[in-house]
Amino acid sequence: METLRQELKENIIEQLNLEDFTVDDIADDDRLFGDGLGLDSIDALELIVMLDKNYGIKLTDPKEGKEIFVSIAVLAEYIATHRTK
């Protein structure tokens, strides 16, 4: 799980061009949206594409995103359970 969390942090920094962040800056429980990393709705779309492309997870209900993209820890947990690749 730790490896997956690390991988997610690296991917999020790269995919979302978070130039000012390093992996060490993102704690597992930091909120991704709002006060935490400050991601927005376009980033949510990027994350949905990343889940599909990297882990074979298709999110069809946008409400699901709100529950999954809470933090790196929650996202990693969801991926570990639902990944098809």
Binding site: Q15, L16, N17, L18, E19, D20, G38, D40, I42, L45, E46, V49, D52, K53
Partner: protein
């Protein structure tokens, strides 16, 4: 009809034109393969949340626009007009490559959203929360001049009191490489590096604080070398001027076979006129004439010609009327006439 006064001229280019106020005193010819822009510290001007999605062209455009509005003392312009030849080519490349690499699946939205040609105009407006007229012109080497024409018409007809107009193009990662390969295969291709840059200008119908006037702009798709001088004569006549009234001519020479258009004028009607050639320092790109326009504005403001730009050895004490002539591959010709306030 109202007069179109120019209040600010800001340029980001391959030379230190943004921070440095010495008007190209330390400029030099670009000898590298590409004339990459000297970028300002964008974080000083754009919020971090916004900057991370912006490609170089968007950043250059937004910052040049912001600075131009500051210098012109315009808070919110009544029109934002942008000219661009290739738009946001870097994001277009990214998006199209992703399309191919991912077999038309998994298309990330950011590069697609940002790849449209009007991204720069939109980001300027978003940053200012400006809901006024917003137009982007994409027409090869007359993209910027098409925007100038629009700006002039808006001010002349009192449809807008203040207009922000500019031009921007970025190198991108791949297009510029292909461009170079094609040019190298030409018998006499473009001899200056492919470049990038952005220039923005604050214009208004108010004279106070202005240093130049945009007198006239004309664009035309084709004209023969034999007819170019008579075409220019008609343009000048229309503005009540003769060839000898032009105090400096800025030409978009790039070393290719089509420079004969410029040579035709340089060797005849402008033989005794200060001749300026700028693409050796700016590079060639679809909106490279923005650099020429910026140089023309500062020439009138400072009443001097930077040595690096002067092609012949003729200089004048007073510069009242400056003419810009640009063309690309014998097409997309433009005349732009600037006058001192």
């Amino acid at each position: 009809m109202k007069t179109c006064f120019i209040h600010s001229a800001i340029c980001i280019s391959a030379q230190e034109t943004f921070y440095n106020n010495d008007f190209l005193k330390e400029a030099s010819e670009v000898t590298t393969e590409f004339a990459s822009a000297i970028h300002p510290v964008y974080k000083d001007y754009i919020p971090p949340a916004a900057i991370r999605r912006m490609a170089p062209g968007v950043k250059m455009g937004v910052v040049a626009a912001k600075q131009s509005l500051n210098e012109a003392n315009i808070n919110i312009p009544e029109a934002i007009i942008v000219g661009t030849g290739m738009g946001c080519i870097e994001d277009s490349e990214k998006f199209l490559n992703a399309l191919i690499d991912n077999d038309e699946e998994f298309l990330a939205p950011t590069s697609f959203i940002q790849s449209t040609h009007n991204t720069v105009g939109a980001q300027i407006a978003l940053g200012l929360q400006c809901k006024a007229y917003n137009m982007t012109y994409v027409h090869g080497a007359v993209s910027f001049e098409s925007g100038l024409l629009d700006a002039q018409l808006l001010i002349q007809t009192s449809e807008a009191k203040t207009v922000l107009v500019g031009g921007v193009d970025e190198l991108g990662k791949e297009f510029s490489v292909f461009f170079n390969k094609i040019e190298k295969q030409q018998p006499q291709g473009i001899q200056v590096p492919f470049g990038e840059g952005a220039g923005f200008f604050g214009m208004s119908s108010e004279k106070a604080g202005a240093f130049a006037i945009l007198k006239d702009v004309q664009v035309f798709e084709t004209v023969s070398v034999a007819d170019i001088t008579s075409k220019l004569k008609a343009f000048l006549t229309n503005n009540g001027l003769l060839f000898q009234d032009i105090d400096a001519i800025l030409m978009g020479e790039n070393g290719d076979a089509y420079d004969v258009y410029y040579h035709e004028m340089q060797a005849s009607v402008f033989l005794k006129t200060p001749q300026i050639s700028y693409k050796k320092v700016s590079g060639e790109f679809y909106t490279a004439s923005v650099f020429g326009f910026w140089a023309g504005c500062h020439l009138l403001k400072r009443q001097e010609i930077p040595k690096i730009l002067l092609k012949n050895s003729i200089e004048k004490k007073n510069y009242q009327h400056v003419l810009l002539y640009n063309q690309y591959k014998g097409k997309e010709h433009s005349f732009t006439l600037l006058s001192r306030c």
